[in-house]
């Protein structure tokens, strides 16, 4: 292998480059598919921009300006060229560049996503570790997980609003972007990932607890907590990190509902508006940003996994 690669970067860097390239292809595929799907949806864009009482002249003018009468491949090519030069087009309805609309909303969504991930890891991780150390399945936790799995995110969201904002009135019911407004959406989004996360943590922990090297650690006469901290948790981490990377994708689909339920001013809300207004450039823009975030999240998980597991380092260079 080494002979073939002489002159090439080292295994790890090459692996990373390949992943990046695959990531770009993924984003391109998502872009193409979404673009084609949009044209399969019935509806006259020009009319939705100009309103029901627009004159035929105005409609024709709009169609001409947006090249709506051009063949699909021509429109696609125009759009793709724009995206590659960093121009995501202009929103039909809000009459602003899509790029600046998204840039204004992105920090809020990232904040919500990261907070939800922290909630999920803390809660799901703790429950998974607890159940693994317990040695047998907990009926209570199984019921909780099944309940959470069966509850759609938006329903859980309204339930939270009803209980914590309306009846107990401990959290704000209004729209806003501060810490108090972050609590409910982050918890609801995080809770939606808890069943998956606690299962992965439990299975990974259980397998590690039964492994031969943990027996060695016990045979050394180490205290129980040292064995768990040093030999079990660290080894059980790898699948958990991979899971967290994939959860970024799960959260990005959940974010649309959660942001709308709680009025959190993020990309999910923007996407919802774009969909309702047939605002094609804006919808495309939010989809592309989501695809980039998913690719980036998985890439980040891989990098972290390599950092915590020396065996993955060897796989990468082999």
């Amino acid at each position: 292998m080494a002979e073939h690669l002489s002159g090439w970067p080292t295994g790890q860097a090459k692996q990373l480059a390949v992943r990046l390239l695959l990531g770009c292809l993924t984003v391109l595929a998502v872009l193409t598919l979404t673009f084609v799907l949009q044209y399969a949806v019935p509806g006259d864009v020009a009319r939705s921009i100009a309103g029901p009482r627009a004159t035929p002249q105005l409609l024709a003018q709009i169609r001409d300006r947006l090249h709506l009468d051009a063949p699909l491949w021509d429109q696609y090519w125009r759009y793709l060229r724009g995206v590659l030069s960093g121009n995501l087009g202009e929103s039909y309805v809000q009459k602003q560049p899509v790029r600046s609309l998204i840039a204004a909303r992105l920090p809020a969504t990232l904040l919500l996503g990261v907070t939800a991930l922290v909630v999920e890891i803390a809660l799901g991780g703790a429950l998974g570790v607890w159940e693994a150390l317990r040695g047998r399945r907990s009926t209570l936790l199984t019921c909780l997980n099944t309940g959470l799995l069966a509850t759609p995110t938006f329903a859980l969201g309204y339930l939270f609003l009803l209980v914590f904002a309306y009846q107990l009135a401990v959290l704000p019911i209004t729209t806003g972007a501060d810490a108090a407004h972050l609590v409910m959406p982050a918890v609801v989004l995080g809770l939606s990932g808890v069943p998956y996360y606690s299962s992965v943590v439990r299975d990974s922990m259980t397998a590690t607890l039964a492994s031969s090297h943990v027996r060695t650690a016990v045979a050394k006469g180490l205290p129980r907590w040292t064995v768990i901290r040093r030999h079990v948790l660290r080894c059980a981490l790898s699948p958990v990190v991979t899971m967290a990377g994939m959860d970024i994708a799960v959260f990005l689909s959940g974010v649309v509902f959660v942001e709308n339920v709680f009025g959190w001013p993020g990309i999910g809300q923007l996407q919802d508006q774009a969909f309702n207004n047939s605002d094609r450039p804006l919808l495309m823009g939010t989809v592309i940003v989501a695809a980039v975030l998913v690719v980036f999240g998985n890439l980040l998980a891989d990098v972290i996994r390599v950092a915590v597991d020396p065996r993955a380092r060897q796989e990468a260079s082999a």
Binding site: S212, T216, A219, K220, G221, L222, R230, H231, R234, R311
Partner: protein, 325 residues
């Protein structure tokens, strides 16, 4: 350092299936006992019980495991933790699985010292242990991860971990099985050498009679969770008495000397399932089995547990009355 080991009436069960029945063994201080048996004979159960590493579903139902006066079977909590490694050390079969994959070798040895007395020079002592198990360039090996070492090296690292606490009893659970033959011989030699130096008492579990020949002072043959024969190693090869041991020796000799195409001698039938049969566990496969063997488990008399052998040794009538009394 060296301590006599005495196991009395040890009974171990997985759930409600008894896999070790009333096993008694003696190992004089500083000697090597080879524990021989096929899969399911209970030899690994005995190893795990004596080092108190039984899985959670297994229970010690009775008996004592005395190591230099400490009853390992009775220890709990903090006493058990400090006895692990220092009174009894365990050397496992698969060294790759038995080492933490994400921790450097040096640290895995060093934590034995830090666990015992929080020594600050644990890292240097770990390197010293690697040198003692004849690893070249121990300083560099200490910085490696398990998957970067060869099978023989990993087993040497396991030996270093096991002996780091200067244990009184070392339980070696088929540590050479996963290695290829030349490495097997090296590891065997190393353990024999360290055993002579430190005087540690060893229980070596194996199904390979050539290993017995190599290092054992005494031998115990396990079958179906009971001791079939317990004698000196030389005696086993010269004058084994139990029908199972004879069959074992027959198939071993056959495998060693048989010319190509010549048939191996094998013991007819297959080993018992856990839980077993009433009477002598070997009777379904034994060519000399009598009615009594089917109903009553033979006690260990003069190093052998067999009704037929006992009767022949004492004369027909005397054996009957002696046994039934």
């Amino acid at each position: 350092m060296s301590a006599p080991v005495s196991i009395e009436g040890l009974t171990v069960a997985y759930g409600d299936q008894v896999s070790l029945h009333d096993v008694s063994l003696d190992v004089p201080a500083g000697t090597v006992l080879a524990l021989v048996g096929e899969s399911g004979s209970g030899k690994s159960t005995l190893a795990h019980a004596a080092s108190r590493l039984l899985p959670p579903n297994a229970r010690i139902l009775g008996g004592t495991i005395s190591v230099g006066g400490t009853d390992m079977a009775a220890l709990t909590g903090h006493e058990l933790r400090s006895a692990r490694g220092s009174t009894v050390a365990y050397l496992p079969q698969d060294a790759l699985a038995a080492l933490n994959p994400v921790m450097r070798i040096g640290r895995q040895i060093a934590e034995v010292f830090t666990a015992a007395n929080g020594r600050s020079d644990a890292a240097e002592m770990a390197v010293e242990m690697l040198r003692r198990v004849s690893i070249r360039d121990p300083g560099q090996v200490a910085r490696k991860y398990p998957h970067q070492l060869s099978g023989g090296m990993r087993q040497r690292v396991m030996i270093a971990i096991a002996l780091a606490h200067r244990p009184q009893l070392l339980i070696a659970d088929e540590p050479t099985t996963a290695l290829d033959v030349t490495v097997q011989a090296e590891v065997l030699e190393l353990v024999a050498e360290l055993q002579r130096d430190t005087g540690v008492t060893v229980i070596w579990i194996t199904h390979d009679l050539s290993v017995v020949k190599e290092i054992a002072d005494t031998v115990a043959v396990l079958y179906g969770g009971r001791v079939a024969e317990h004698c000196a190693a030389d005696e086993l090869f010269a004058a084994a008495r139990h029908p199972y041991t004879l069959g074992l020796l027959g198939s071993f000799g056959g495998a060693r000397t048989a010319a190509p195409k010549e048939r191996f001698t094998a013991i007819p039938g297959s080993p018992p399932l856990r839980g077993g049969v009433p009477g002598c566990p070997f009777h379904p496969r034994c060519t000399r089995a009598e009615d009594r063997c089917r109903s009553e488990a033979p006690p260990l008399l003069g190093g052998v547990a067999c009704h037929v052998v006992a009767r022949e040794a004492t004369g027909t009538g005397a054996g009957e009355t002696g046994m039934t009394a």
